[in-house]
Each structure stands twice: as C-alpha cells, then as structure tokens.
C-alpha cells in the first residue's frame, strides 16, 4: 500500500516534468539532445520508483541488502527529493536562458555602439 502511495505522489511530478519538456521542445526552446536527456532522466526516476517494491521484495532476507520496510517518512523524503530535482532542473534551465540572453544583448549593444561610434 505504501509503495502505491509513493508512486501516486511521484507520478504527478514526473507527468508535469514530461509535459514541460515536450512543450519546451515543441516550442523550440530546448535542443533535441536536451529533450532526449531530460526524457531519460525522468523515465529513470519513474521506473526506479515503480520498481522499488519488487526491488525491496527481492532484497529482503539477503544479508547485505536487508532493510526495514518503507515508512511514511521515507515516502515524504523521496517525494520531496523528486520535487526538488524538478525545481532545480527548471531553475537551471531558466538561469542558462537568462545568461544566454544577457550575453547576446551585451554583445549586440557593444557591436551596435561601435558601428554608431565609427560613423559619427
């Protein structure tokens, strides 16, 4: 039951991330390689979360892998980490876009001013 709660809480975040990536790609705001890498990243996250229950079942009773079952605190912590990855990922993209815009703007202003200066 707890594993289902974990999947149900993480799934909307991953879905949001997928919608975000596809929208950005279709609008031409991100490159094909970034689109591919982001899809792989979020697919890996959702596969690991869905697969956590069978992985736990497999590892239980094995000397090195044996651990206690998923607690509510574990669920909250995992969801928080996935959500943080989502936020950090989005912010990093926005920061890079802004950096790029500022650099291009600075470059263009400098060139235009130099041309204006050359004419006067």
């Amino acid at each position: 039951m707890r594993y289902i709660i974990l999947v149900l809480l993480v799934a909307p975040i991953v879905l949001l991330a997928f919608i975000n990536i596809v929208t950005q790609y279709k609008l031409g705001k991100i490159s094909r390689s970034r689109f591919r890498h982001q899809m792989v990243l979020w697919l890996t996250i959702i596969i690991v979360v869905i697969g956590s229950f069978p992985i736990y079942n497999y590892s239980v009773g094995k000397p090195l892998l044996d651990s206690s079952e998923l607690s509510l605190f574990d669920i909250a912590q995992t969801v928080a980490i996935v959500y943080l990855v989502y936020i950090i990922n989005n912010h990093r993209r926005k920061i890079e876009q802004n950096e790029h815009t500022i650099r291009d703007l600075h470059q263009e202003i400098s060139i235009r001013l130099s041309k204006k200066d050359g004419k006067s």
Partner: protein
C-alpha cells in the same frame, strides 16, 4: 558589408593592454597592407580600466567596447559575431600582448584561404622551444584534459591564435566566457562537424607577455569549469 574576396577580420580581445596594443596594431597593419587580403583590425576592449580603447582607435583599429568585463571567451564571441555580421569570409583571433608573430598570422590565413580546415589553431607546442617548462607542462596538461573531457586531440588547446572559416563563423557558439572557452570551442567545433587542424607557430615571449599570461592556478580553475560543463551537459 565587406567584399567576399579574401576578406579577413583580425580580432584582438584585449583587457588592460594599453602598454602594447598600439604596437600590435601597427605591426599587423604594416604586414597586412603588403598582402592580397582586404582586412580590418577589430579590438574588443573587454571593459578595460586603462586607455586600451582610445589607443587602439588612434592606432587605426575598429574598437568594440564591452560595457562590462565578461572574460576572454565573451570578448572573442563578440569579435566573431561582428565578423559574421560584417560578412567576412575569414576571421583570426590573436592575443593582445604581442606574443604572436604577424608572419604566423598571415601563414594561418593563407592556409585557411586554401581550404585547409574550418578551424585552424596556431600551436606553440608542436615546437615548444622558448616557452618556460612550467608553461609547457600547464598547456600540455590542459590539452590532455581537453582530450579526456571532450575527445578533441590537439597539442595546444589554449592557443589564442585561431583562424576561422566562414562555416566556422556561422556555426560556432560556446557557453563559457572565461579562458575555458578555448577548450569548449574545440568541443563545439567537433559537435558541429567542423574540420580542426593545427599548424606550428613560434610565440614571442617578452617580460610583459610572461607577466600577462595565464598562470597555473588559472589552469586549475579552467579544469574545474571544463569538468563542470561536461557534467552539466550530460543532463541537457
């Protein structure tokens, strides 16, 4: 717009180089006026605090002044963007401290004109005679790091003397603004499928250029930035 035939843009990114910039421009003008090339010398003053811009203008260069100091990579990008916008067919970047021999610049441009490559690098390390041992080690180390992180094999990844074809001018873009752009540029060129080649040059080491050059601490900073850039881009 400039004429398409043999038009060369000589780009000099400069930061606080008032002491030597006039001499560099004068030497370039003297040598290039005897060649078949239509040329323009463009100094990118990267927010200098001294009279670099004023002196460069008086010496006959076209000066683009950065409002802010963004770093060598940013200044080079501005120069190449200007060359592209102005319709030059070949562009060359060289250091403002006078360490490059004008004959080597002309040789590189002639090689480019013959279609030798899309990005031609003047390598100081094919024959490193005259360069201090510590600089040889530092530069070879950075070339090795460039190979390990980006898979681009060159002998001198940090050379400031680079010649660009029209194709390279139109396609090359990089993200870093500091000295690490030298290695990143090679990576981007590889990604774009541009042909990268090297040719041997002899650097002129004066007391001034030795004092202005990168030190090995900066090399550590470059390595850190390059590895960071490589990791970040694994998720892009």
């Amino acid at each position: 717009m400039v004429s398409q035939r043999h038009s060369v843009c000589l780009i000099i990114p400069a930061y606080n180089e008032a002491a030597v910039i006039a001499e560099v421009i004068k030497n370039l003008n003297k040598a290039f006026s005897k060649t078949k090339f239509i040329y323009e010398i463009v100094v990118i003053d990267d927010g200098s605090k001294d009279d670099t811009a004023k002196i460069s203008k008086t010496a006959g260069a076209h000066v683009i002044q950065h409002i802010l100091n963004v770093g060598s990579g940013g200044a080079t990008a501005t120069g190449l963007s200007y060359a592209k916008q102005s319709g030059y067919t070949i562009a060359a970047t060289l250091d403002a401290d006078g360490q490059h021999n004008v004959k080597d610049v002309i040789k590189g441009i002639e090689l480019m004109n013959e279609g030798a490559a899309d990005l031609l690098i003047g390598s100081r390390l094919i024959d490193s005679e005259g360069m201090s041992r510590i600089k040889v080690v530092g530069n070879r180390g950075l070339s090795m790091i460039t190979f390990l992180t980006f898979g681009v094999k060159v002998t001198d990844s940090q050379s400031g003397l680079r010649i660009f074809s029209k194709k390279a001018l139109e396609n090359l873009k990089w993200k870093t603004a500091g000295y690490e752009f030298c290695s990143e540029m090679l990576w981007r060129a590889k990604q774009q499928g541009l042909a990268i080649k090297e040719y041997p040059i002899k650097a002129i080491y004066t007391e001034y250029s030795q004092s202005k050059g990168q030190n090995n601490w900066n090399a550590i900073n470059i390595v850190r930035s390059l590895i960071q850039r490589r990791i970040v881009e694994m998720f892009e």
